[in-house]
Symmetry: C2
Subunit: 241 residues, 2 copies
């Protein structure tokens, strides 16, 4: 049994969450792996059942662990990435938020597409082809494709070979889904179809400049469309007054 | 008294956290603002004291609320941004993590410096000048300046006028502090001093290409240094074997 000392002003619950994280990382547990039962952890750490339960709750709230009814506690598939990691819930004047997001995406995604054209594995290329088919299918049925659109970009980020870009893009898209409402119309449907196909082709053929340029055009045209839509709504307000 | 309905498979605690977040955002509460007492929330939501306390704990674990001994509960200064937002704790083979991070920074920060050269307010410019002085002071005393270095880059990100870049950079630097150990030596001290001064001058004078290039060189040289250091340690291992 190991002893937990109070230091650096941390509470016992905080020290216990730190110890559980150490337990996970030192064993390199992966999403979906089961963690020991309450009884096993109580054997290991010199803490009360109450403290241990609090620590579990904190780790579940932080998307590090997840509890499955009747099956036990597991490493969360969300990999500790929280629900609103960019804190966008607390940026209130959100008129400009969608534009800020596209400007950031323009900094990252063209280069991500370029890296994917060099580094994507055969498996990742196949996942992109499959996601393109799902996207085309949803569009042809007139259904919403926001989630599939995000997943396509996410797959590209994961194909860069840079793990931080993969995790970051996951954060950006969960922030978009939660905090930014993108109104899409016919213009952006045809943009999405045309440029997603172009980006996919460039990645499959390893053409880095095509990948870079197609992604740049894709996002820049969305940016133009957003500014145009904003100007139109401004004009309407002025006409009415 | 408002009633909370169970839907979409959410637990009562999850629904209650959602309601508290709604309460915060609808009133546009800011970091440091006090939130109502337990009794006031119990009046407002039809939940048990136990459920409300659990919801508070979740929000504290997510860095949305913070509890101050004897003073009550407040909106956290951390703005809901968690301790390891990029989930880097769970990327285990971290040999390449520092390089992945610098590659990502090279995508974002040169353009951020360019934006800051156009958009920085007088207050933000003064904050950059002050931080440069603190940085120079620490370096001249031979003290660690990793935190001040990060804050300098953070101030630039906040001066872009793009709020998402500001929050994102906060995430990147807290991830670096927590997950990536950067070994700095004399080479990177002189790099830091020279290029931070160049970047500062360019931002103060509104020179966008100078700002872009100085930041690019600053980070590219750190990148070169990291690769060189990695090769040297590889060579040592080979010599020994």
């Amino acid at each position: 049994m190991e002893d937990i000392k109070e230091d650096s002003g941390k509470t016992l619950v905080e020290l216990t969450t730190d110890r559980i994280i150490d337990y996970i990382t030192s064993r390199q547990l992966k999403p979906g792996d089961k963690v020991p039962t309450e009884a096993e952890f109580l054997d290991r750490f010199a803490v009360s059942r109450g403290t241990l339960r609090e620590a579990f709750k904190v780790l579940i709230a932080r998307n590090i662990l997840e509890s499955r009814q009747g099956a036990g506690t597991f490493i969360s598939e969300k990999q500790g990435i929280p629900d609103d990691p960019l804190g966008l819930t607390f940026i209130y004047d959100d008129q400009m938020l969608a534009l800020d997001m596209i400007d950031l995406r323009l900094m990252i995604e063209p280069k991500a597409a370029q890296l994917a054209a060099v580094n994507a594995t055969e498996e990742q290329k196949q996942a992109l082809i499959d996601m393109m088919k799902v996207l085309e299918d949803r569009i042809s049925k007139g259904e919403s494709y926001v989630a599939e659109d995000g997943k396509f970009h996410q797959l590209i980020a994961e194909s860069t070979g840079n793990r931080i870009i993969g995790n970051l893009t996951y954060i950006l898209f969960s922030s978009i889904e939660k905090n930014i409402s993108l109104t899409l119309n016919n213009l952006s449907v045809s943009n999405t179809l045309y440029y997603h196909r172009r980006i996919l082709k460039a990645i499959l053929e390893g053409k880095i400049f095509d990948a870079y340029n197609a992604m740049t055009n894709h996002l820049s045209l969305i940016r133009e469309y957003m500014i145009k839509a904003d100007e139109n709504s401004q004009n309407k307000i002025e006409e009415q007054s």
